[in-house]
Structures are given as C-alpha cells and as structure tokens.
C-alpha cells in the first residue's frame, strides 16, 4: 500500500518559486489499478517521481507499507526503487544492451541476484508482457516500437516490484497497439496482484481499465474516485479542458433525456446491450 500525505514539491528557478504539486493526498491499495489523469504540466509526472524517491518533496510524506520512503534510516533508496517500479514515457529510449535478455536482466543484476534467479525473473517478466522467448537473444533495437516498449516494461517488472507505475504506456502507438498494451497492464495486475498506477491523458483508456481515477490540475488533486463518480462530473472535467470519452458524453446525454443508464458503463458493447434491453423501441 502506498500513502501519499500532504505532498508538496516546489521548484526554484532564479527568484521564481512554483509549486509543481501542492498538498496532494492519495492512498493506493494493494492490487488496485489507479489511473492518474491530467494535462501536461498538471503535476502528474512530478507526483509519480516521488513514488520511487527520484524526487524529494519540499514537504509531505510518501509511505510504502507504512514506512516513510524518504527516511534513509528506515529504508535504503535502492530498496525503495526496487519495490516501486517506474516506467517512464517512451521507455524504449532507455534500452541499451546487446540483447533483449540482457536488457531485462539489467535491474535484477543491479540488485545482485544470482544467475539462476536472473534467468527466472527475465523469463517471467518477458512472458507477462507477451514477449516470445525467441526474441530474447535479439537486439532490442531490431524490434518494432510496440515490442521495444514491452522490453522496457519487462525491464522494470524484473525487479518484482510491489507497485508498478507506468507513465503513458500507450503513447504514440496505433489503436490496436494501445489496446494491446493496456490489456497487458491489466494482465500484470491480475497475475502478480500488485498495485498499478497508470498515468495517461486519454480518458478513454483510463475509464476502461482503472478501478479509481485521480484527476490532477494545476498541481493539485481536484478529484479522486471511481470512473463512475468522476465521469458524473463531466462539467468540471470540461472546465479543466479534459476530454470526456465519446461514450460517456452520449450516455450522459441519454440520462438527461430521462433514460436511467447505470453509472458504471464505459464500454461501447455494454452500453449497446443495456440500451437494447432497457429502451423500448419498435423494430425495423
């Protein structure tokens, strides 16, 4: 479990002081898939870099299973980073090894695992993200964009983290690639039972996959709740110029027409099924 308490981070450049994030509070339970949404510059990147202590807060705390991760007496920095795996945006740009295997093995090696254990972890991580074993001896640079990204995610998974944080894992991919990678993120959560933090600016992706959504705006956490609770407030989201998924816009309009569509429908097929069953219409 991760608890973020009154987290504030202030940047100083010259004489200017700006709060990148201000008094953020959030608890992410074990096994939860938490979506974080917001514009570029809303502070979501700054926030997640605190989760594995890449950034130190100006004030506030981050507790990992009750331990303050910034208290070096309580927990070593390396230990924090092992437990909270962070996958940056466009992670394929960090690959550097000669083979896919070696690249995924980089983290376990840094943590002094034995050869056997490294092998075990690499194979497990590769399997979880859907990389075939015959790719492991290839150069990561010979792979396609989507595969490279899987290698990079596997490279973080190989640490066996308790929490996995992904910044825009689907950015720049085509619709099919996006869907596939998000499906794999869900699979990671299901198979390993770990907490996953999914950062995105695509409302559609987050709505379809997250248990809860936190909305960041201007460095503050404006809302946090289930997708149903968040999308019920479409007016507020529009004001923050965040995109509400088309399906949500449609269903909200139907609700205004007096059709009581349940709040927890975010998928097109589910919506269609519900309408067909509950809205009276003449065939033809």
């Amino acid at each position: 479990m991760i608890e973020i308490r009154h987290l504030t981070h202030t940047y100083t450049s010259g004489i200017h002081k700006t709060d990148a994030i201000r008094d953020v509070n959030l608890t992410i339970a074990d096994g939860e898939l938490m979506g974080i949404i917001g514009h570029t510059g809303s502070g979501k990147s700054t926030l997640i870099q605190h989760l594995n202590a890449l950034l130190k807060p100006t004030s506030g705390q981050v507790l990992l299973d009750g331990v303050d991760i910034f208290d070096s007496k309580a927990i070593a920095l390396k230990e924090v980073r092992k437990n909270v795996g962070l996958v940056f945006q466009y992670p394929e740009y960090q690959l550097f090894e000669e083979t896919v295997y070696k690249d995924i093995a980089f983290a376990p090696k840094n943590y002094g695992c034995s050869e056997e254990e490294i092998k075990e972890r690499v194979l497990a991580a590769a399997k979880t993200v859907g990389l075939k074993e015959n790719l492991l001896d290839k150069s990561p640079f010979a792979l396609s964009g989507g595969q490279k990204r899987r290698v990079a995610i596997a490279g973080v998974l190989a640490m066996n983290p308790k929490v996995l944080v992904l910044d825009e894992p689907a950015a720049g991919l085509d619709p099919f690639g996006r869907e596939k990678i998000l499906y794999e993120v869900e699979k990671i959560r299901a198979q390993r039972g770990i907490s996953v933090v999914l950062v995105s600016h695509s409302m559609e992706d987050v709505a379809a996959h997250a248990d809860r959504i936190a909305v960041m705006h201007d460095g503050e956490m404006k809302m946090c709740g289930t997708p149903a609770e968040i999308f019920a407030q479409d007016q507020v989201l529009e004001e923050m110029r965040l995109d509400v998924p088309q399906i949500t816009k449609i269903l909200n309009a139907l609700r205004k027409m007096g059709i009581a569509v349940p709040e927890d429908i975010f998928k097109v097929q589910e919506a269609a099924d519900w309408i067909l069953q509950n809205v009276p219409f003449t065939k033809g």
């Binding site: 514009h39 570029t40 510059g41 010979a142 396609s144 964009g145 950015a171 720049g172 991919l173 085509d174 619709p175 099919f176 690639g177 600016h201 695509s202 559609e204 110029r241 965040l242 995109d243 998924p245 088309q246 399906i247 816009k249 449609i250 309009a253 139907l254 027409m257 097109v268 097929q269 919506a271 269609a272 099924d273 309408i275 067909l276 809205v279 219409f281 065939k283 033809g284």
Partner: protein
C-alpha cells in the same frame, strides 16, 4: 493537384536481404483545397506514400505529379518541396533555430526569398497559426502543441498548396492535439489542401475524405461517414471507428437502426432521439 499513377515504392530489408514493397502500384488524385485523412496501421505504407509527394521518397515504378510537375525531375525539386510542405511526428526534431522567427524563416531563406519579403511571410505565417506572440521565444520552452504549430508556420512561410501532417499529433496531449487540429481546419477553410496521417479516428472523422491503406494499397477511399460505417472491416485492419459510430453499429446489429452513420456524440444523440420518438 497531386496525381499518383501506378506508383510503387520499395526499400531493401537488410535483415532478410529482400526488397520490401511498401507502396504497391497505387493510383490516387488529391485536389487543391481538399482535406484528406489517411488511416492504416503501422507498416501499411501510409507514411511512405506521402513522402512520395514531396520527393523524400522517389518511386521505383510509376509516377507522381504535383501540379503537373514530375517528382523524379531533379530540376523542379525545390519547386515541389515548397508546394508540398510536411510536418513530422516529433516536434523536437524538426525545428532548426533557437528562436521561433528564425525557424519560421528557414524555408524562405533556403528558397532565396528577399529579406523584406521573408519578414512579411514570417509574420503572416505566425499569425495564421496563432503564435505571433511567441515570435522571440525559444522553441524548447514551448509546449508540444505550440512547437507543432511553429513547425506548421515554418511550412506556411514557403507558401505551399498542400500541407502534409505525418502523424503530427501522435506525440501530443489532448490539448496539443486540439490546437493542431483547430489550426489545420482553419487553414483548410482558407483554401489549403491538407493531408493528415493519424491514429486518432476522431481526427480522421473531421476530414472531407478518408483513405484507408493496407499492404501498400488503397483499401477504402470515401467520405468519413461511409468509411466509419464499415466497423467490422476497420477492426479487421487493426483500426477503430469513433465510439459514436461503433455504438450506432452495435445497436443496428441488435435491431435498433438509428439511420445514417454518426461520427460525433451530438449527432448520435440527435439521431437516437428521432428514432426513439
């Protein structure tokens, strides 16, 4: 008018040591002032195709003519490139200068336009993309959407007839994408032909004409409503359709036909309301 006549393009695949055909005997005409979106999954040949329009790729068979100029004719290379401007995916890797106005001036400078005329073109281009206030800014301090608009201004300063956007919205956040799309639509209304390659179906739905590519050929070429009514075909090509169109399609399959294809939530709600009453 851009005319592709039975054009093919291939490159050497170093790994398998074979010729890989990415554009396959394709014929196509794009008129002045049109707004065309090109869809296709990665590797369908869409990017290779548009690069044939401005001589970045040279056809291995067939011909491409831009306003009747042959793209294989070296003598008209700069003429074609100033007519067919291209904005790329990564906003960071196409801006040359350290100051916005210098960057916008880069194209006309290369074309040997007199300094006073460059000045005017730079100012006009920056106003056209609504970035005149940033004339002295440094590109690295701008947001992704702003950088792409500067890149568009850099193309406009060459006074082109056709503007190609090669996945120029892929790396932007929703706000940046909206900025770029608004700019592009405005330019199109003023007469600029726009060729938009995108992965976002909602963006393609805003075009006048959608071309769907598969295996280096044209799979579909029609107006957006027609294209997005083919939900199964689009999914089989690893593409999607806007959610509004998909919902209408699912309802139709279940016996509730709301009439014509809808592309936006508003259109869906309107058609749905009419059908229910």
């Amino acid at each position: 008018m851009i005319e592709a006549k039975e054009v093919s393009f291939s490159y050497d695949d170093e790994e398998t040591n074979t010729q890989k055909i990415v554009v396959d005997k394709l014929s196509l005409t794009i008129n002045k002032g049109e707004f065309v979106a090109i869809l296709g999954h990665n590797g369908s040949g869409k990017s290779s195709l548009v690069k044939l329009f401005n001589c970045v790729n040279i056809p291995c068979a067939g011909k491409v003519y831009v306003d009747r100029l042959d793209t294989t004719d070296e003598k008209v290379l700069f003429d074609i490139r100033s007519r067919v401007g291209m904005v790329f995916q990564n906003p960071d890797n196409q801006l040359v200068a350290t100051i916005v106005e210098e960057d916008v001036a880069f194209g006309p400078e290369n074309l040997g336009v007199p300094p006073l005329e460059i000045r005017k073109r730079v100012d006009d281009a920056l106003k056209a993309v609504d970035m005149y206030a940033y004339i002295d800014a440094a590109p690295h301090n701008l947001s992704g959407g702003q950088k792409q608009r500067i890149a568009i201004a850099g193309i406009l300063a060459m006074q082109p007839e056709y503007l190609i956007l090669d996945e120029s919205t892929a790396m932007l956040d929703p706000m940046g994408r909206r900025e770029v799309m608004d700019t592009v639509k405005r330019l199109n209304r003023q007469g600029m032909a726009v060729i938009l390659i995108t992965h976002y179906m909602e963006e393609a739905a805003q075009a006048d004409r959608v071309i769907v590519m598969e295996e280096g050929r044209i799979f579909m070429d029609a107006d957006p409503k027609k294209v997005f009514s083919k939900v199964e075909e689009m999914k089989s090509l690893r593409l999607g359709v806007p959610q509004a169109a998909e919902l209408a399609y699912c309802l139709k399959k279940g016996g509730l036909d709301i009439g014509e294809t809808v592309l936006t939530p508003e259109a869906f709600v309107e058609a749905f309301q009419r059908r229910i009453q």
